[in-house]
């Protein structure tokens, strides 16, 4: 099965990894992995969460060191001491989670540690020049709405990600690692990445592209390496790409059962459980009315800045409306505590920042949602009860972990997301608001999550899925609303005839 890629003159090996092994405590993250990255090629890396994709690329990019093995870059031994060192030598990486500093400007983020290059004659930093250069870098990669003097923390997740991309690209790297970055981006943001990758390929440079989106990776990449349990399973060339074969290689078995739900019965109860009444909030929500019904999976789609992510927070009481109100079974939701009392749960798009306590254990992260459920007299916490509560969620959701006492930060993206689900499902949430719930989650976990959502619907629970993945929305929801500029511009009922073209018409 493994294909030997032809050694063409223009496709020289630029990075070679030989017998790389990486351990995290007792966990083998990489086991004698060998791979090559060639110039003029976009190499895809795919595999389940925890398969070792990010580990191998983060070692190549200088973020951490391997326990064993050898690397070469441009034919010479390659042992970068840090990501900065790697980037200075031509290997850049855009990481999965946020990598910008919130309290400083966009320009300061891009030139972090290099601001001395903008010193004027008086020895002071010429901020105007730095901002101008920043905007030039941003424009070069197709970003014109972000200014150099903006404070990074005031920007949304997508824009912060775009700044990271600009920062890396300002160094004109020979090898670029894109680690599940596109999952955080809207279509426009994704197009920027695709353009960068194509340009680098045409300039005979190399790209390593990591994504869980099979369609995307098959479109973008020239070759595709599959990892599983820290080992290279197979490498496909473009002409060998086959969706089913890739899926089987990834999970080591055939994907059985339905991926999305298979029925087209979009029925749900008439009973309204959650609604927003004439909600106004800047340009994010304008005279907005929306009802969620019992037993309904409601999808909300649109381009990234359409207001849908704000809508999720408003429905959970985390963001206050300027006008209008959010009602749950007739009672107003004024804050997050109100929402939780009404058994509403919220899964944020920005998982590591907004949904998890990274320095706390898996147990702590799960049980925080269920304190009301297992605390004796709603006050006392007994270790045994708490452990049983957390263990049930770990088992029900098949969270892969050595111990519930391990830090949640040691888990892979998919298992982290399962922990977030466990936090809300365990406490018996009747309404779940899920903002990009399958971001950075592998195909096997995605399937499990989709089936879980469908099961919850069948149990009469209500789910709001906010997503930029059209296929996910079409595949799962009973009703889909499309937002643009803070307003609903389209509404679709579940149907076998529903297609992306109709939906996109409402978006743009």
């Amino acid at each position: 099965m493994k294909r030997e890629r032809q050694d063409k003159m223009e496709n020289k090996v630029i990075v070679e990894v030989t017998d790389m092994t990486k351990m995290f405590g007792s966990t083998v993250a990489l086991s004698e992995v060998s791979m090559v990255v060639r110039t003029g090629e976009i190499l895809g890396l795919i595999g389940e969460n925890g398969s070792g994709k990010s580990t191998v690329t983060s070692i190549i990019a200088g973020m951490q060191k391997a326990n064993a093995g050898k690397m070469t870059y441009k034919g010479k031994d390659w042992e970068p001491v840090s990501m900065i060192d790697a980037l200075e030598h031509g290997v850049g990486m855009i990481v999965q989670e946020s990598g910008t500093v919130a309290g400083i400007t966009v320009a300061e983020n891009i030139f972090l540690g290099e601001m001395s290059g903008f010193k004027n004659k008086a020895g002071l930093i010429d901020r105007k020049a730095m901002n101008r250069k920043t905007e030039e870098i941003l424009t070069n990669i197709g970003i014109d709405h972000i200014k150099g003097d903006m404070i990074c923390g005031s920007l949304d997740f997508q824009d912060r990600k775009l700044i990271e991309i600009a920062k890396v690209m300002s160094k004109n790297p020979e090898v670029l690692v894109v680690d599940e970055t596109t999952t955080a981006l809207s279509q426009k943001g994704r197009e920027i990445i695709y353009e960068i990758a194509k340009k680098m390929k045409n300039e005979n440079r190399a790209v390593i592209f990591i994504s869980h989106d099979l369609d995307e990776i098959m479109n973008v990449c020239d070759a595709l390496t599959v990892l599983r349990d820290g080992k290279i399973i197979v490498t496909f060339s473009k002409d060998e790409f086959d969706e089913d074969l890739i899926k089987t290689s990834m999970i080591g078995r055939e994907l059985k059962g339905d991926y999305y739900r298979s029925d087209y019965d979009g029925s749900y109860s008439d009973e309204t459980v959650l609604e927003i009444v004439d909600g106004n909030l800047g340009n994010q929500l304008i005279h907005f009315n929306l009802s969620v019904h019992k037993g309904e999976i409601l999808g909300v789609g649109g381009l990234s800045h359409c207001g849908m992510h704000t809508l999720g927070k408003v429905l959970f009481g985390a963001t206050k409306l300027e006008q209008g109100k959010v009602l749950c079974e007739g009672r107003e939701i004024k804050n997050e505590a109100d929402a939780m009392k009404r058994k509403i749960g919220y899964v944020s798009k920005d998982r590591d920042v907004e949904s998890l306590y990274l320095n706390a254990s898996i147990k702590d992260n799960i049980s925080v949602g269920g304190l009301d459920a297992f605390a004796v007299k709603n006050f006392l916490i007994f270790s045994g009860r708490e452990k049983r509560y957390a263990q049930k969620q770990i088992e029900d959701l098949s969270i892969k972990c050595g111990s519930m006492e391990h830090y949640v930060s040691t888990l892979s993206g998919g298992n982290k997301q399962k922990v977030v689900f466990g936090k809300w499902i365990g406490r018996g949430s009747e309404i779940l608001i899920l903002d990009c719930p399958t971001r950075g989650v592998d195909i096997g976990v995605k399937q499990a999550m989709y089936q879980l959502m469908y099961k919850m619907k069948k149990e009469g629970k209500s789910i709001v899925i906010i997503s930029e993945e059209m296929t996910e929305l079409i595949g799962m929801v009973d009703r889909l609303v499309i937002m643009k500029n803070g307003m609903i511009t389209g509404e679709f009922q579940r149907s076998s005839k529903l297609n992306e073209t109709d939906i996109i018409q409402s978006m743009i």
Partner: protein, 320 residues
């Protein structure tokens, strides 16, 4: 391998406690070799540690939130002086006790409410409060004392000036704090709020409510510390509890508390840190190290403890 990992984690968690035991052992050995009255030395150590240990135990709640309060020492001084005045006015030690506790809690709550109203980081309001309280100490002494001190008759506090009483105060208060910290929703929410305030908000945890509770718990500790100060040194001057504020900060970190607070915060850090510091000082004295070298040795050990306590965490932050 997993068992080995867990063992390593346990060892790291126990490092501050093992450090305390080591210091105790060194003190005992040196004391015996140098023919020092070890029992008297131990009594001195308890007397010197107890106020810091009590106040630091309550302050753990504030540190857990990822914040800190530098006005705790000044608050203890004002509470002690006011408690002393209350005794002199009423002749009732229990009234003095209640005044110490009540005033300290009120000052603490005022800090947290001020921070809530103006939406400021709590440590900012405590900086302002430190100046106000230091000024208040001078005013109280000038107006109500002899000009230099406020003295409570030593005969009045003598029955309480025992190691047993002071240890009982510490143990009872520590047990209360440990119970709230480890076995209630409040303690859990405090830890998670300190770990990630954004996530805590999105899990329905009220930062304002938790800050008020944390400061109230700390206030009780300050009040108890103030009362024990009156019992131990009934002549109250502008120097009463003057170094307590800084000692509390050092003790908490010395005891293995993460400086950023969060889920790994430990209630025992305060007591371990307070006693470790005093043992270290006594060992320096026994070794006749001048104060300059002693301070440097303390600083080096302080850095070592923080390094060891955070070592495992730093290793675990790598991505997978």
């Amino acid at each position: 391998m997993m068992r080995k990992q867990n063992f390593k984690q346990q060892v790291i968690n126990l490092t501050p406690f093992m450090g305390l035991l080591l210091l105790f052992a060194v003190f005992m050995v040196l004391g015996t070799i140098k023919d020092i009255n070890v029992a008297y030395g131990m009594k001195t150590i308890v007397n010197q540690s107890i106020v810091v240990a009590i106040i630091a135990t309550g302050a753990v709640f504030i540190y857990t939130l990822g914040s800190f309060d530098i006005s705790l020492g000044a608050s203890a001084a004002v509470s002690a002086l006011t408690g002393g005045m209350a005794y002199n006015a009423t002749g009732n030690l229990f009234v003095a006790f209640l005044v110490c506790i009540g005033l300290a809690v009120m000052i603490s709550l005022f800090n947290s409410i001020l921070a809530s109203v103006f939406n400021l980081p709590v440590f900012v309001t405590t900086i302002a409060m430190l100046s106000v309280l230091n000024a208040l100490v001078l005013v109280l002494i000038r107006l109500n004392g002899t000009g230099d001190e406020i003295a409570v008759p030593s005969a009045a506090v003598k029955p309480l000036d025992t190691i047993g009483f002071k240890l009982v105060v510490l143990i009872v208060y520590w047990c209360l704090c440990a119970f709230v910290f480890c076995f209630t929703k409040i303690g859990r929410k405090q830890k998670l709020l300190g770990g990630n305030p954004i996530c805590a908000k999105l899990t329905g945890i009220s930062d304002k409510k938790m800050a008020i509770i944390a400061f109230a718990m700390a206030g009780i500790g300050v009040g108890l510390g103030a009362f024990v100060s009156i019992v131990y040194a009934p002549t109250l001057t502008r120097n009463t509890a003057s170094s307590v504020g800084m000692d509390v900060i050092i003790a908490i970190v010395f005891g293995g508390m993460p400086v950023s607070g969060g889920a790994r915060s430990k209630i025992q850090s305060a007591v371990i840190g307070a006693f470790s510091m005093t043992f270290l000082s006594q060992i320096m004295t026994i070794l006749n190290l001048n104060s300059g070298i002693g301070q440097m040795v303390k600083a080096a050990i302080f850095l070592l403890v923080v390094f060891v306590a955070t070592f495992n965490q730093r290793n675990k932050m790598l991505p997978r």
